[in-house]
Amino acid sequence: MTTDLGLPALGGLDLVPGTDEAQKAKDYKSDQEVRWCPGCGDYVVLNTIQSFLPTLGLKRENIVFVSGIGCSSRFPYYMNTYGMHSIHGRAPAIATGLATTRPDLSVWVVTGDGDALSIGGNHLIHALRRNVNLKILLFNNRIYGLTKGQYSPTSDQGMVTKSTPMGSVDTPFNPVSLALGAEATFVGRALDSDKKGLTEVLTAAAQHRGSALVEIYQNCPIFNDGAFDVLKDRDEAERRIIPLRTGEPIRFGPDGDYGVTRSAWGGLEVGKVSEIGEDNLVVHDPAITDTAYAFALSRLGGQDLHHTPTGIFRQVTRPTYDDLARHQVEQAREAKTPDLQALLRGKDTWTVT
């Protein structure tokens, strides 16, 4: 038996109180000394987020960062908002409880590749499936940093690390593909060093009502230095990064020589525009309901970063778990005034005098 749950139509921040007071990046810096290693990609991401949050115009006290365990999970301590540094892998679960009971909060989860995809894989996929109004920032450095250099679920197969002296035999996850498989309604990807690109994705994520997963490629200078260097070298990046821009044909490469078109079997593939023909380029639309499109985009890129789509893969509307759960509480209250004494009495009583 199923029943109609109703369909609230809201933006991601509609229930979060805003402020007219001008905010600056420094308002979001806490008094705690940042203790990441020199050169860590986390610094850049922290700066970008501290610069971008003021643009949302929210009351600072209504923003919460919840993290798990790992280098990236120290993030909340450096933000002058509310924050909880919780347990390895469990941040999405804790944030689900918070977001469900507090629609007036903008709740962010900061996690890493080990935290989100290994120990916390279960919570991640279920948060995405439920579409809880959470923004999940997955800092992917393809290595365990805080435990000093073991391979992670996104490390290259064959990677020699402290725990894999003969090379890792594990097949890595593609986090964007995983999120799409878990029915995520918003999935994006950006590079730690690309302030503009990251800000665009984060802004859209914040406005999205529901779970948003943003994969951030992040350099670990100590245990996996240069993992994304090919995307940071200007010439290499041009050949590899496929920028996804809504409403535009998907093109990349020097002078836009390359583009994305439909493959023979119905998926997507990269080809030379001169061979494909401009009319046959795919025009990017993250609102396509069928996950197959965004999934095909995510498969254009491989672990070797030969091609790497960045931007917003998918952005669709679906009722959120927390809105629906609160809606049921409200419906129940309207249908039946809470009367504790009546509840305790129940239907069948007897009286002793």
Binding site: A93, L343, V352, T353
Partner: protein, 636 residues
Amino acid sequence: MSTSANGSGTGALSASRPTEVNQLDRVVIRFAGDSGDGMQLTGDRFTSEAAAFGNDLATLPNFPAEIRAPQGTIPGVSSFQVHFADYDILTPGDRPDVLVAMNPAALKANLADVPRGGTVIVNVDEFTKRNLSKVGYAADPLEDDTLSAFEVHRVAMSTLTQGALAETGLGKKDAERCKNMFALGLLSWMYHRPTEGTERFLREKFAKKPDIAEANILAFRAGWNYGETTESFATTFEVAPAKLAPGTYRQITGNAALAYGIVAAGQRSGLPILLGTYPITPASDILHELSKHKNFGVTTFQAEDEIAGIGAALGASYGGALGVTSTSGPGVALKSETIGLGVMTELPLVVIDVQRGGPSTGLPTKTEQADLLQAMFGRNGESPVPIVAPCSPADCFDIALEATRIALTYRTPVLLLSDGAVANGSEPWLIPDVDDLPDLRVSFATEPNATDGSGEFWPYLRDPRTLAREWAVPGTPGLQHRIGGLEKADGKGSISYDPDNHDHMVRVRQAKIDGIDVPDLAVDDPSGGKARVLALGWGSSYGPIGAACRRVRKRGLPIAQAHLRHLNPFPANLGDVLRSYDLVVVPEMNMGQLAMLLRAKYLVDIRSYNKVAGLPFKAEELEGVFTDIIKEVVAA
């Protein structure tokens, strides 16, 4: 004293009884049949009839973990025992005076518990060669002398039910399924139970299938009329209403009472409730019940696993709701890390553990009280949590409020140890007046509190009386702060690796729990202090220990009884109580977990009596244990 029963009355059935009527003060009936025979429903209905009549009562459902074990086999037997009386009783009864056996398996599995001279009512239709061989009866026990010590009634319940429903047009199989209501009707007649409640119940239960409702009612009436018209039952029995304290009563199971306690805690604290949980036997009924009461501001979150359940509860508490999680022992194992985070972040959280047989999956549908040490110590590091335990089904309501009081006052996770016996058992409950329930209102931090004039908010400053830190919820301007699992500097709450600070914080967290205000332990000793032996228990063994003490005292032997509802911290007077007896006996459905804690803390020797059989103690069994011990002490 008089009683009136709402909704009972004379009922649709009335009898001119040619039979002899015997007055009894108490009766124990056990309904036993196949898992699919509806024995739990039958027992539950009989219980409701007894409650409506005003008897005191206690019940013991006993069913297999398999939903439908192979039909007609011993592992598939499900039973429901109800004890009802004209005085206040403490247990579901040791042995059934009446066994209703719906098939050979039910007879074989339960006969050993029936005392000589007891009544056995069997459904003869199920005593076929095939069914007999399934359970290893070489000969039909109805034909040989297996039952010679009992008063046996052979009733063709399946045939009679099908006959009664012949006109309804219901298929043979569907008609036969109503035989449990036939049995209920027969027993209702035998014990002069009101019937209107059951008929109303059936109409409501099958509101969408009125033909099924009518079929069940027909079967119920057929059972009643069978007793009335056949001559095989020479005697009927009456158990007068009990002389309970004045007030309005209802029947309630432990899990329902616990769920109501949580709803009440939300209302009395003014906080919304989030139950984060994962289905697990025997705790799932708490989720089922709470999910019906959303209008009280209760959100139930069925999570992807046990860890997410408690995680969401803790997240809700962080946001200023009352976070609750419900589980059984295996789930507590998974939740341990989050309980530790609750200890570290000092947030309120109620963790309900409905204990079952362990270790591992153990005996999911059976009772045990072997999670005490897990609750006490089952986390990494020095991680003290308060522990409370209900002593009866109705007490589950009060203990939920008490767990909430401690969680909110002291900002800490609280372990509430229920168990399968109290969770599924039921008894009359004197319905409390809502205005008499404890006031659980809390106040959130609203102002910066730094003592250095900085105007900051320091999350780890404490109330000097309770040692609780302030509860500053997100959304409060000016109080932005960060908490987490890393050790924090006392007061200011920044991350701190300072050795002295850690030592200090470990001690403060312990002192906070040790300092929880717990009522003194009351001792029951009607001999006026002559008792030299104290029987001390915790949890669901309250009933059997109490019943055993009554029996011992009836023999003229003094014995004192005390029962712990607070397991951590213990009542302040516990050490003095223990030391004032020559011998303290502690019966537990574990290998001596409370005894271990008592010996360690008070250096008092304890006589443990342990049984871990998945079933509650019998009063008779403990009577023997206590009697022997008293004799031993007197002789020494």
